[in-house]
Symmetry: C2
């Protein structure tokens, strides 16, 4: 049942009666879990990455395959190199205990409206759970601080789960891990036209470096240096 | 002896004689070597990093110490995490053979003018060799390609050695290593006001992503997420 707001105030009656509003939960609780992705998550991860490219209007340069992800991710212990946090939700609680080598982060989120997920089958991840989003990050280095940090290469939440705090959960999980490791910064890039993303990140407390421009050598321009030795 | 240009054209004579110009080398050859830095290079590296911050007008946020560099660099095999290539020059050839686990890259550079290095003592690295510059890089990830690349956090050549091809040598060495490892890209950031750097990088074949803005969570804004778990 969709609930569009908090229950209406009760009208006092001489003998207490239970109204339907009182037996119904306030909002729709949903259980969320962030855990480290592993190689069995590649099919979901690949679909999410394609959707992420689509959200940035960049599918024409998307060439990642399930094989390339399997070959290049999950080769190092978590947090030492490329690491993926996966976000799942379920209408029932997730089982207790660690998933792999890292304790998952769990939350109960009270939604005003039930989410209708048109891709729930495609993103099913066991029981009633579905995969909702991811964040991919890896250690970077601060040349002025002489300390490592994390760089977030991409963060994505599927469309029907947006504006419910899930993006903030994923970013917060990386920030908390950075703090746990004594790392001093968290960096990422945003496309200039993406006003929504800017608003979200500024609310999270981020600085934006207007003056920094990203440069890249790739394809033939990179290949030209192959013989340098 | 400083030579300001190529030798003057010879005047033809009936019997060939050897003029002083012919016995003198054309220009001033200098031997350059790029090798992987190790923990014994930290004092030089720290000085170079400070100069790098000064060149970006950012010494007010420079807090790296020799201890922080020693603790955070050199903990992984080269190229798997933070890696530093160090550039040295010497008026005499460097000894043959590998330095550590990686073969160095060597070049002979013919200079028009001898370089007067006011910091030659401070940056002396054995024999007549001096440390001239560095590049610090580490693996990053391409979310659209599903492939790793390298990110260059900083590249620096001491002032008196600039405009002689040494910066290009350092960047080329990283590009060549990326190609050797099958990596598809090389990324770095440049401050918008640094027209010299832009010119240099564009000549190297780099694209500039005007639309990408770097965001950062650090200090108190990052610390706010410490308790998220």
């Amino acid at each position: 049942m969709a609930v569009t707001g908090p229950p209406s105030p009760q009208t006092p009656t001489p003998t207490p009666t239970i109204t339907p509003q009182e037996t119904a939960p306030i909002g729709n609780p949903i259980f969320a879990r962030i855990r480290i992705a592993n190689s069995s998550d590649v099919p979901h991860l690949h679909k999410l990455m394609y959707q992420h490219a689509a959200s940035q209007r960049l599918t024409h340069i998307f060439s990642a395959t399930e094989s390339s992800l399997s070959a290049t991710l999950f080769n190092s212990p978590p947090f030492q190199s490329f690491t993926v946090f996966l976000l799942e939700v379920s209408p029932t609680p997730f089982p207790d205990g660690p998933v792999g080598c890292h304790p998952p982060i769990t939350r109960i989120v009270n939604l005003d409206l039930l989410i209708v997920d048109p891709e729930s089958k495609e993103f099913g991840s066991g029981g009633e759970a579905v995969v909702v989003g991811f964040v991919l990050f890896f250690p970077n280095y601060g040349l002025f601080s002489g300390m490592p940090g994390f760089y977030i290469e991409g963060l994505y939440v599927r469309e029907c789960y947006r504006k419910k705090g899930f993006g903030k959960m994923l970013l917060s999980a990386v920030a908390a891990q950075a703090m746990k490791m004594g790392y001093g910064k968290l960096d990422w890039c945003v496309l200039g036209w993406n006003a929504n993303a800017f608003g979200f990140y500024k609310k999270m407390g981020a600085q934006v470096f207007e003056e920094l421009k990203m440069c890249r050598l790739t394809s033939d321009a990179l290949q030209a240096y192959e013989s340098f030795s």
